[in-house]
Symmetry: C2
Subunit: 244 residues, 2 copies
DNA sequence: TGCGCGGAAAATGTCAGACAATTAAATGTA
DNA sequence: TACATTTAATTGTCTGACATTTTCCGCGCA
């Protein structure tokens, strides 16, 4: 007398879904303890390994944490910003790398979103954000910096800009867009001249943010978007010529 | 002679991480088959259930899919936009519900991002997008619509707006911001007057998008943001008064 | 009475072995 | 050749056991 034999097999997925729904719909609150594996097994009429597979699925999504020992068990976990960042970045990166997303598409998305942050960042940036931006600009001017390091510094710069908006939800959403672009950016070879131009634009952006001039920040971000797009188009073209 | 007894216990997490890294770093490509569970068990020197728990973790993140039968097994999965949407929405919703995010913060993030899409949507919207927007506006004008349905329709309207930008990466990033707001929006009681105002603004936005007038779209989105913020503040205030 | 220590208990983590279910390829047959 | 049957490989599930970790409680001792 099985409840529903509709979806053929994969009991652990069904059980995971049932528990996940309970958490999402708020029927279980943070730090509440789930029944023990044995109890869940009895409740769902499956064996303990099956329940365990279900719990591991939830653990992979940071929905629960487990704790050994007496009065241990599985607990609904408070999803921290950091973990959410991490998951979002992983997903975004894979999405881009596995779906042959055009450089233009990713670039457009990233700068559109970043420009949305700029006015807020101009209002609210703290000395900390400005210091980070300046430090990264300085690093980007160092000769002998590898292309990878240059890109990594670029990401840090832009994250500081985004964080400057002082809205953690915005930072979270943007993290995916900014970080996921890095693998695509890494394919670009930055000549000395292009680095100079980028540093120039970064400086202009930092200046505008410091001066709380939203309009100037937007203008220069737009220029940077256009320049990055051109660089990327160039690199992609070379790349495709090589493989043809 | 264990390889690394550094992190005590949770072999399945370590194994999952090892495989996940291999996929993220591109050492395994889409549709490539992983070794069978028995082979992985031998390779990592653990039992099959432990390997299975690791694989379930990866399956929960849509990194692999499994297939039964001869020549079945676990395969690296192409992460589809839809699945990525789903994961992002789940994570975003939980992040907001579990971290006592202020209505203002979420609202600000959402409209900042949406306004970033508007100019692109004005350029590229198709008749389909316009039709969806008009249909939802019509629904929102129906009397007797529950607050929940009104909110759901609101989400559909805004997703059509975002999709109108014709950039799937942008749609993906925005999905989290727009959908995750719904539980917060659901706490608002929409009076007849507030619905009228929202419908009026939605109509103005749809008109602007249809006329490809980016500036008008932006202006009205800004107004909608301000109005939503005011409604939300009101609702939150009442809510906190009730519980005090 | 107060304190520390050790065992019991409860829970997750891991293992071993078995069987069921499913699927594609190989094989046999008309 | 075309179709049915067998077979082998692989995941899905179950049972039972043991290892490990952690908390709690009671006991002995000062």
């Amino acid at each position: 007398m099985k409840t529903e034999p509709k979806s053929p097999s994969d009991l652990s997925a069904q059980i995971a879904k049932a528990i996940r729904d309970a958490i999402i719909e708020g029927r279980m609150i943070v730090d509440e303890r789930l029944p023990s594996e044995a109890e869940l097994a009895a409740e769902f009429n499956v064996s303990r390994p099956t329940v365990r597979e279900a719990l591991k699925r939830l653990a992979a999504q940071s929905l629960i944490r487990t704790q050994r020992g007496a009065f241990g068990g599985a607990f609904v976990k408070r999803l921290s910003y950091e973990e959410a960042y991490g998951q979002h970045i992983t997903t975004s990166t894979l999405l881009l790398s596995m779906n042959a997303v055009r450089f233009e598409t990713a670039c457009e998305a990233r700068y559109a979103l970043e420009r949305a942050c700029a006015p807020l960042a101009a209002q609210r940036r703290t000395p900390d954000h400005l210091a980070t931006m300046r430090a990264e600009i300085h690093r980007q001017g160092q000769p002998g910096l590898s292309d990878e390091s240059f890109c990594a510094s670029d990401v840090t710069f832009h994250r500081a800009l985004v964080d400057g908006a002082g809205n953690p939800v915005l930072s979270y959403q943007l993290a995916g867009a900014v970080e996921a672009m890095q693998p695509l950016m890494n394919m670009i070879t930055f000549t000395e001249r292009s680095r100079e131009e980028i540093v120039r634009l970064h400086t202009a952006i930092a200046d505008a943010i410091e001066a709380q001039d939203a309009k100037a920040a937007d203008t220069n971000l737009e220029r940077l978007a256009a320049y990055t797009l051109a660089l990327g188009r160039d690199a992609m073209e070379k790349h495709s010529r090589k493989s043809t």
